[in-house]
């Protein structure tokens, strides 16, 4: 008899224990939730989870969640459907949705840009760390490939967002770094050689929050290369790009 009581309590505790109580088990409280065969709205609905059914959340891809029903059916439900479920203590499920409010809380931002640096094609990758609502620090690497030379720029900059709460928001930037100019192979024969100079930049940009964690940015920059020669070199750059934030 004590053994049976022990066994009963063991299983009772096991089921109650938060480790085993399926951590991400949620209950559908809306009349129904559509389950699709894949993580996109284009995939067909093959099952409907009814009100009161318990579902287990397995994984996430973009704004879709893979779930398993009590009967073992597996499929994908949308973030909207998951946001309307409740947890074991009847609390709503907190979903960190990527929206504009989330954007304002971001810590990091990574971007890809295409642009023109003095009429040559330029590509940039950037990584930014958000200090405050208004101030963002950013590192960038740019490769500009022209007919006569290849420029590589490393820059660190500070951006100031005057109106961070606007969806379309202007910003100013100040930066410093280095530029390495390598003449193309055909010009090497004519005596040109690779040179590195310090560079300073001042820029103006516009960013627009698009959707999810996706932002578009347009920038104009004026760069001043402090060359060894008698005159300094002034460069203009236009960039259009996208960035994602986390």
């Amino acid at each position: 008899m004590p053994f049976k009581v022990f066994v009963f309590f063991f299983f009772y505790l096991l089921l109650q224990s938060p480790i085993w109580a399926a951590e991400l088990s949620v209950k559908v409280v809306e009349p129904f939730a559509d389950m699709r065969t894949g993580p996109a709205s284009e995939y067909p609905v093959f099952h409907v989870v009814e009100r009161g059914e318990q579902i287990e959340v397995l994984k996430q891809r973009t704004s879709w969640y893979k779930v398993r029903t009590a009967t073992g059916q597996e499929g994908w439900i949308s973030v909207d459907a998951l946001a309307q479920t409740i947890g074991p203590n009847n609390e709503p499920v907190a979903i960190a949705r990527s929206d504009f409010a989330q954007y304002q809380q971001r810590d990091f931002e990574f971007g890809l840009f295409y642009g023109q640096l003095e009429k040559t094609n330029a590509f940039s990758v950037t990584a930014a760390w958000v200090l405050t609502e208004n101030i963002v620090t950013e590192l960038s690497f740019t490769q500009a490939l022209g007919d006569f030379s290849e420029n590589r720029l490393w820059l660190a900059r500070v951006q100031h967002f005057m109106f961070p709460e606007w969806r379309l928001s202007p910003y100013l930037s100040l930066g410093a770094g280095q530029v390495r100019t390598k003449p193309n192979a055909t010009l090497v024969q004519s005596g040109s050689e690779t040179r590195t100079s310090d560079v300073m930049e001042v820029g103006f940009g516009l960013r627009y929050y698009l959707l999810e964690n996706f932002v578009a940015r347009l920038e104009y920059k004026n760069l001043l290369a402090l060359t060894d020669r008698d005159e300094q070199e002034e460069l203009n750059e236009w960039k259009l790009g996208f960035s994602v934030f986390f």
Partner: protein
């Protein structure tokens, strides 16, 4: 006598006790449960995709070569993704070099074809019906990107256009077929021209 006093005491007690009992605050058991917020941060996300590919590239004027490379993608929405890719191939001989048997145009180092590409893609999601009752998820995608190609001793700005097809074997494992045109302008064999370097490849990718 003593019994009588005792019974009076009991009666008094009996009268007082309910009144006393009412003064005791009702016993409330506070459940010792952590009201854990269910949070989607606990859920495993699979928005990144890493892949390897192998295929053939036709390097304009320099015959065909095999190309190998890797890709890293980040899926922003169900349709939009960003992808970085790197590939390498070793260019062959031009027809002229083969026919004349003369001095080669490029050194072995210059013949190494290396590119990187940063692009954005759009998925058209769908399904493939293998047989009755068995369907695999798939998507067809179009991509546009840009980057740099290191060939013939120089880096060339490269525009990449193309598309591909992903066949999901499981949620996180996909087979990929890619076709890409890498366009860059080059003056390796004389006059400057836009070269089209078309590659197709087969690959596998892993979502994590």
């Amino acid at each position: 006598m003593e019994t009588r006093i005792f019974s009076v005491f009991l009666i008094l007690l009996g009268c007082l006790l309910p009144a006393f009992a009412q003064q005791v605050p009702p016993l409330v058991v506070e459940p010792e449960v952590d009201r854990r917020q269910i949070n989607d941060a606990d859920i495993d996300t699979e928005d990144f995709e890493v892949g390897l590919f192998y295929g053939q590239i036709s390097i304009e004027d320099f015959s065909n070569s095999s190309v190998t490379g890797l890709t890293l993608a980040y899926h922003i929405t169900e349709n939009i993704f960003m992808e970085a890719s790197y590939g390498q191939a070793d260019a062959g001989l031009t027809s002229f070099e083969q026919l004349s048997g003369g001095a080669p145009f490029l050194t072995d180092d210059e013949r190494e074809y290396r590119y990187y590409d940063l692009g954005i893609g759009y998925n058209f999601n769908g399904e493939v019906f293998v047989k009755e009752g068995w369907a695999l998820n798939s998507d067809f995608y179009l991509m546009v990107g840009g980057g740099s190609t290191d060939f013939g001793g120089d880096n060339h700005f490269t525009l990449s256009l193309g598309g591909g097809y992903r066949l999901f074997l499981t949620d996180y494992l996909a087979l990929r077929l890619d076709v890409r045109d890498h366009i860059f302008s080059s003056e390796i064999i004389g006059e400057k021209k836009d070269t089209h370097n078309i590659h197709y490849s087969l690959g596998a990718s892993w979502f994590f």
